[in-house]
Symmetry: C2
């Protein structure tokens, strides 16, 4: 490609609505332009990277035996009524009427449509397994679209749906997709991690998220550097940090702790480690019945340095649908407002749940249910009845890995892919059955597998940028090399070498752009650094008189000189090496 025949729309300034670096850089690099909230034009440079992501995804999906088709963006409400999601799905599901007042939705996902295909097309076990995928434009009416392509409303996804005879087949299909995703993100050149995920609203059991690791990620991931373990922090089991409870050695003592409403302040005031203090969290569950009754009040006890995992709590017996207690309830049950709460001497009975670490603590510190007072030397059995014990906290750095193979670390990630075992949720709701070997109809076992194509661009940038702009991996850079001639209009020698190098790179299958716009070097360099082209060749009379062309990798701090005749080949080799996975 020659720049004079291309469209380059770089900007000096990012728009005011761009909060994160990838959004800013994508607008500045001329990749996207806002049309409405969460709706973008993909300008030529942006589209080139999208197409490269799509191509890699397609190649790996095909390699894994998935078959491409294309489903519509506009879907009839009937299918969503059949699955039950017409009612269940929130306002993110854009519902509208056509000119005949029939109900439709803009598809945010395609479980219903693909299940309809399967039930119509698949009659016999002989047709299974099958895995259909598409690369398609979706719409999700986010209440607060932002972060550019990271949380847009209209976006491009690859979604795949597998159909199997039985759970064993589903597990095999799932594993194939898992393996394909590993290859995809590896080929994309991204630092990523497959993590065990807690299942969302889509239902079913067994799922992994694929995260691009980036400091700016919105999800916390727990992983074990010495093993394969990785999971969303929310979904990671927290093991007890104390193997056996120690014997009580201190007397129960009410201690003045003026103004120390937080564990950190208590520890400092008393000169003890934070790990000796207890955080008290008060929850409520409302009891159903004809007559209004009092709620049940729960006291959840965590070690002072730990944080509550609400998802784990919601799965405990009696705590499904819990809420945080109101201040009035706290005063009524504990006799004091929040800040100095504890399990001792409550005004009305509360149900105590101790985190599995807390359950093995001894001589610990709790609030006295009196403003400005804590009680030290508290011990289970002696001062308090044995509690209900459960894992109710988030893991943190340094915790033992649940697989027993080391110690956890925490990183932040951006979810770019998700593989799900759906089971028969949709096939049962929509009667997608096949005739099994035994001649009887059975519901198909389904899996679904998504990759956010446009989101990947944002995630790749969040992981790879500097103060000059984007730093693309070779696999998805809009161009892999830029050839920048110095004084193209003055020097016949420069023109000749630029054309030669350009043609050699094209012949080598390299995606190269020749910047023949006639811009000043400073403008050229700034544009291509902003756009993030990973390799740059600068061709000028000064170098050429010594037979040299200047090369600089986007991450290099300095340029190096290459023999002019070898420049194209050298760069082509660098790219081939980067793409080899």
């Amino acid at each position: 490609m020659k720049a004079s025949r291309f469209f380059i729309g770089t900007l000096k300034e990012a728009p005011a609505d761009a909060e994160i670096v990838s959004h800013k850089l994508m607008v500045r690099a001329g990749m996207i332009r806002r049309v409405a909230g969460g709706i973008y034009n993909y300008l030529p440079i942006g589209l080139r990277s999208i197409r490269k992501v799509e191509q890699i995804v397609r190649e790996e999906m095909n390699r894994a035996g998935a078959i491409e088709l294309l489903m519509p963006a506009v879907q009839p409400a009937e299918l969503w009524q059949e699955s039950g999601r017409w009612e269940q799905y929130g306002p993110e599901l854009l519902r509208f009427k056509d000119r005949k007042q029939s109900d439709f939705v803009m598809g945010p996902t395609h479980e219903e449509v693909v299940t309809d295909i399967a039930r119509n097309q698949i009659k016999s076990y002989r047709q299974l397994p099958v895995n259909f995928y598409q690369v398609q434009t979706k719409f999700r009416d986010e209440i607060r679209p932002r972060f550019g392509v990271m949380r847009g409303r209209e976006f491009i996804m690859k979604d795949a749906y597998s159909f199997d005879k039985d759970v064993d087949g589903l597990k095999l299909s799932y594993q194939k997709m898992y393996d394909a995703y590993v290859r995809i993100f590896t080929r994309l050149g991204l630092d990523f991690r497959a993590v065990v995920a807690d299942n969302g609203s889509i239902g079913g059991s067994g799922s992994h998220e694929f995260h691009v690791i980036a400091e700016t990620g919105e999800d916390d991931i727990a992983y074990c550097p010495s093993s394969e373990f990785a999971a969303n922090v929310e979904a990671t089991d927290a093991l007890p940090l104390i193997a056996t409870r120690g014997a009580a050695s201190e007397a129960l003592t009410k201690t003045s702790t003026p103004g120390a409403a937080k564990c950190e302040a208590v520890a400092e005031l008393l000169g003890i480690p934070l790990e000796r203090t207890i955080k008290s969290i008060v929850l409520a569950t409302d009891n159903e019945g004809a007559e209004p009754t009092e709620p049940t009040i729960w006291l959840l006890m965590l070690r002072g340095d730990h944080s509550l995992n609400e998802i784990k709590v919601g799965k405990l017996e009696g705590l499904k649908g819990f809420r945080f207690a109101t201040e009035a309830e706290i005063v009524e049950w504990f006799g004091t407002p929040p800040g100095y709460l504890g399990p001792l001497n409550t005004k009305k009975p509360v149900k105590v749940v101790a985190d599995s670490t807390v359950a093995n603590m001894s001589d610990f510190v709790v609030g006295s249910n009196e403003v400005d007072f804590h009680t030290t030397g508290v011990n289970w059995g002696r001062d308090l009845p044995e509690p209900v014990v459960a894992d109710i906290r988030n893991v943190q750095k340094g915790d033992p890995s649940p697989d027993g193979k080391g110690v956890l670390d925490i990183c932040r990630g951006i979810e770019v892919g998700h593989v799900f075992q759906l089971g028969t949720k949709y096939s049962e709701a929509m009667s997608a059955t096949y005739l099994a070997e035994n001649g009887k109809p059975a519901p198909m076992q389904m899996g679904c597998y998504g990759i956010g194509i446009t989101r990947i661009l944002g995630a790749a940038i969040e992981q790879n940028f500097d103060d000059k702009g984007i730093i693309w991996p070779e696999s998805i850079a809009p161009f892999q090399v830029v050839v920048c001639p110095m004084g193209l209009d003055r020097s016949e020698l420069v023109r000749e070498h630029a054309e030669r190098v350009y043609n050699e790179l094209v012949a080598a299958g390299v995606d190269v752009i020749l910047d023949d716009r006639g811009e000043r070097p400073g403008v050229m360099f700034a544009d291509w650094e902003l756009i993030g082209v990973p390799h740059r060749l600068v061709i000028g009379d000064r170098g050429l008189k010594d037979g040299k062309i200047e090369y600089q990798g986007r991450r290099d701090t300095e340029a190096t000189l290459l023999p002019a005749e070898e420049a194209a080949q050298t760069v082509a080799q660098k790219i081939a090496a980067a793409l080899a996975v």
Copy 2:
């Protein structure tokens, strides 16, 4: 591709709602499946052909210097309000509200969005010309979606938009697109014609439609086999068929023509050629004003074998917005109901317009304004005042070509492409200006250029089918060759040769499918003939014992035997020859 890893969903019967052959065959071949009215799933076989059309379109658009980008399906109402089309566009424009009650549309076309891009991105004449295109999914809320992909609601289009400094630039950009379209449809292997079009609601001046020629086409095209002339019948000038009016030779005679209310019946009854009779058509125009007044009644006179061209009539002075007269009006003005109308002795004055052929007729026959009577020997000047003369008829086969280079023929076509000179319609409405060389802002001159990607599939089938199914051109066939092994499970020899031939074809870059499903020959052949694969190789023990493989082209009535070792090469050469344009 091996059929066992692919999805083939052929059907014996077409669905009841399929009216035309392409719709029936696309469903039966497993290319499309209905999701809702005018909304389809593109199954794997259908998607393959779509992608091939897209690829050819992209290559030729890129070759012509157009730059690909991607605009959203969902567009904010504001842009359509700016252009004025929010009000002007009919209910085909699907309007809806998002969760925040903001107005949006599902884009049926992208003039507004691309003009918004241009006004934001293009500041100077130095950035012009530029031509942006996309391949994108559109939605048009047709009141009566039907004919499968021919008149769907959700469909894939390539739309391009050129921006130029001035009209000369626009004409150049237009010509480049015209030439690109000729290359595209030639490469697609379709019999097509570029025709001069009457402009539709999109506005501007200067446009051509590209039609695929097919008997089932919905548009009538007039063309001159001995010249380049081609135009929609509606837009073709009808030259007078009589150069000079002959002298009157008959006396004006009222003649009994009982029951002969049509010209054909009159001609037969009187034993004269149809070309001597006159068809009288009564139109009305309503006069505006504060007081309701009588309409103006018009009598349009056509030769008995000619048909009225309403578009031409609507452009005549005084006839803009005409309507057909009511029967009551006809009785009031002519003294008789329709059937025996004529210009002589009307009860109230009417405005007479004679077609340019009628104006040169002599001794002709008109209705007498009395049931069961006609008047023969009618002559202008002698019996009637000289009329207003205009071209008000459709051309027909045998008419002189407007370019003076021969005689017209008529064929039917399916519109698959359209090139338009928009001028400044959108750039003025939306203030898309650039700074010209003289330092002053000027509106950009725009052109727009569409190709119906999914529609092309239907049109190609309407042009290429037989009673067995589709007959694809090599360029867009879902597969170019099918290899059908006979008894794959029984014969190691067949298996070896099938694999060898398959691998040789793959190596030659041929898009081949090996039917390894283990179906009976009859089922295999019927499937691939229905799907329309243009080349078939049948590999069986019987042929192999003589060193032969059976070849049959999809249009061949019989198979021929090829030397087994040369079969792949021979077919690859046939395909290469077919694709060479």
